[in-house]
Amino acid sequence: MAGVSAWLPFARAAAIGWMPVANGPMPVAPRDHSKRKDELIVLNVSGRRFQTWRTTLDRYPDSLLGSSEKEFFFNEETKEYFFDRDPDSFRSILNFYRTGKLHYPRYECISAYDEELAFFGIIPEIIGDCCYEEYKDRKRENVERLQDDQEENKDLKLPNMTARETMWRAFENPHTSTMALVFYYVTGFFIAISVLTNVVETVPCGTSTQQKEVPCGERYTVAFFCMDTACVMIFTVEYLMRLFAAPSRYHFMRSVMSIIDVVAILPYYIGLVMTDNEDVSGAFVTLRVFRVFRIFKFSRHSQGLRILGYTLKSCASELGFLLFSLTMAIIIFATVMFYAEKGSSSTKFTSIPASFWYTIVTMTTLGYGDMVPKTIAGKIFGSICSLSGVLVIALPVPVIVSNFSRIYHQNQRADKRRAQKVQKARLARIRIAKTGSTNAFLQSKRSGLLDELLELTGTEADEQKLSKSVSLLESQHYHLLYCLEKTTAHEFVDEQAFEQNNLETALQSYTSPSPSPSSSHGESTSTCCGCRARRKNTPPYHHHHPQRGPLQELSAIHIQCVDPASHKTSRSSLNQKAEDGGRVNCRRGQVTTAIISLQTPPRRPPPPPIPPQAPPSIQTMSSSHIVKVSAL
């Protein structure tokens, strides 16, 4: 609508056409008091100047630029509106005002673009049709990626899990504990053994003295029976354990995997129950066929198999279409071939259903050769049949393949991220960058206290030397944290000091802060849980706590301790200062954790504007979080 707002004067003028037919007086027209002539306004976005008419921006009065909100950004000296945003994205936003259509540039990151739109008060839904599909696709991809990130936390062991929950978790994620891994491999081994015995059972291994060869199964009946029993035992135990551990038993019993489990072990029990009756032994033999379903139990062990199954499920419509079109073609060609071959003598095409076999074999280009047309017409139609078979089958297959590929890559992505090595290196680098900030704060706190001392003693030179290395912003920030400490009567300390204090309270089981980064998540977490539990006993002035929120991957950082050598890599030069005796040792802080965890959620209220040096900004956030923690 706003695109045609320029035509509003025209529409109003055209209303004069109604006047003579009107029967009464017209309402008074609104007066345009501002009587502003259309002027050019300058929008300075991070140095790039955009100019447009004021009326262009007025077209959308519920956005930032169209309303009086932009007055907040007006710079009196330069008489322009200054926005500290990305000028590239601003281009598309301004074009929206000009043309009435919002476009999404492909090179733009989706979350950056969303942020810009939110800032300027434009809803993304009005993106034009030309770009909307692309936008939605990218958005969906992004959401999936974020979800993958969040799923990582499943692997973290939460404290106070019941035995049942632990067991279920061990079943679902075998890499979480060694017991689970052992169980996983054992079951896999037994599945393989079971399938192998089923196969070998039927191999003939008679000796030459026998008149006819008997399969091994009948020769070594006892051995095979023992093997079968052992496998079924294992499977039954496993199934019962899973049933016990499942959070929702009803849900578990209906799941595909459990049905496969049941079908795999049932034949054995039915076989036990049934007697060696002649009538039912036929049925019994068929039941043994179901033992082959044990091979599907491997899908718990193989992700590829699961993906395949999932793909087939999601491509159900394509598969259905394939089946339907094949059936149609089979019937058509079978009919044609039957009538074509009816004339020739001793033909194998005795009926239409008999021709089905020929059609299927031909369409799938198998060509066994047991049925061949002899008449010329039959041969012609036979060749048409084989040509069309190729086409019909080739059409839905790429769809299925692309589906499989997409799902597979999604899983690959999750796996990649789960790879410990990549994770650890990245986290370690981030942590090193962040630790500088904590140390900076603690250092400045000490120097602040030193300042006080110096003030008392009156040595000005020393005071100046200490205070000049901290910028005004940092000092204000530190002062804030310091005030907080005073308010809560607790102090910030770092990890080493905290652990020292805990050790001092003589609790021996504090074993995990080993310097090796290879400590598993589970163990370290339990340490910190222990810390928290024990914290209540520690004296209040040594109060510190790791952040435990339900946040992203980076909350795992705090668990790993790093050797003090990385001191030197921290950003702040304050670290070079000598530590005064009796004070807190500078070590990796669990404050670090809180800092990083807060960084990632995109929806938190933005921190107060802080210059691009990352550490101070992070600390601001950490302070707000540590408030929560200390209040416990």
Binding site: A6, A14, M19, K37
Partner: protein, 244 residues
């Protein structure tokens, strides 16, 4: 006397037709073939055939006359003309408005109802030379009359709008069509509900007022005279003075 070869004398006696060039040119088929192979008459740069208007309109571009000429023709200032042209060009980059675009633009101001019929009448009122598209000059001249013209000029414009076939008389049928289109713009959700007889009743009232000599049509003189006597109408004519 025998007529000379190749000459068809106009005498009463039937002459055997000769296959001559002159005779050939009289054949309709030949004439048509020759006509279609000749290059099409280009015509003036800014006129378009409305029969195949859609495709041609998108390729034809129209540049308006200069700013000064327009200023002379209308009562707008230079700045106003600039602002008007920018809005016009923004919506119609080719410089011409065809009826469909015009209808869609006008309909956007009346979302509840159907403004297409009234827009059609408006289009005809603006499109003075009836070539199926409004150029910027038409647009601006029309606006100049509506916004800056005298009351008489405005009344003339309104009469022109109502007189659909531009014959100088407003008949009851024409007025009914106009009235219906105005009521259509209201849409369904009105209070009180628009009854089906409402337009024709309104037309009757109008004719009662306007048609002095009761001859069933309203002429321009009757129209202007009646309107000038009506205070409401005179006041409402001044309503949109300061729209631009």
């Amino acid at each position: 006397m025998e007529p000379g070869p190749g000459r068809v004398k106009d005498s009463g006696k039937w002459q055997k037709p000769r296959f001559s060039r002159k005779a050939l040119m009289k054949c309709c088929l030949v004439k048509w073939i020759i006509a279609s192979t000749q290059p099409q008459d280009k015509g003036s740069f800014d006129s378009t055939r409305s029969s195949d208007s859609d495709l041609e309109l998108s390729t034809v571009r129209h540049q308006p006359e200069g700013l000064d000429q327009l200023q002379a023709q209308t009562k707008f200032t230079k700045k106003e003309l600039q602002s008007l042209y920018r809005g016009f060009k923004n919506e119609c980059p080719s410089g011409l408005v065809d009826e469909e675009t015009f209808k869609s633009i006008y309909s956007q101001f009346f979302p509840q109802g159907d403004a297409t019929t009234y827009a059609h009448f408006l289009f005809n009122a603006f499109d003075k030379d009836r070539n199926g598209s409004i150029r910027f000059e038409d647009f601006v001249i029309g606006l100049s009359v509506l916004l800056r013209g005298s009351v008489t000029e405005k009344l003339n414009w309104a009469f022109n709008l109502y007189d659909i076939n531009k014959d100088g008389y407003i008949t009851k049928e024409e007025m009914l069509a106009i009235m219906k289109s105005i009521y259509d713009m209201m849409g369904r959700y009105t209070y009180p509900c628009v009854r089906d007889e409402a337009p024709s009743e309104h037309v009757d009232k109008f004719f009662q007022k306007m048609d002095r000599n009761r001859d069933g049509v309203v002429t321009i003189e009757e129209f202007i005279e009646t309107c000038q006597k009506d205070e409401n109408i005179m006041n409402s004519m001044q309503l949109f003075e300061n729209v631009i």
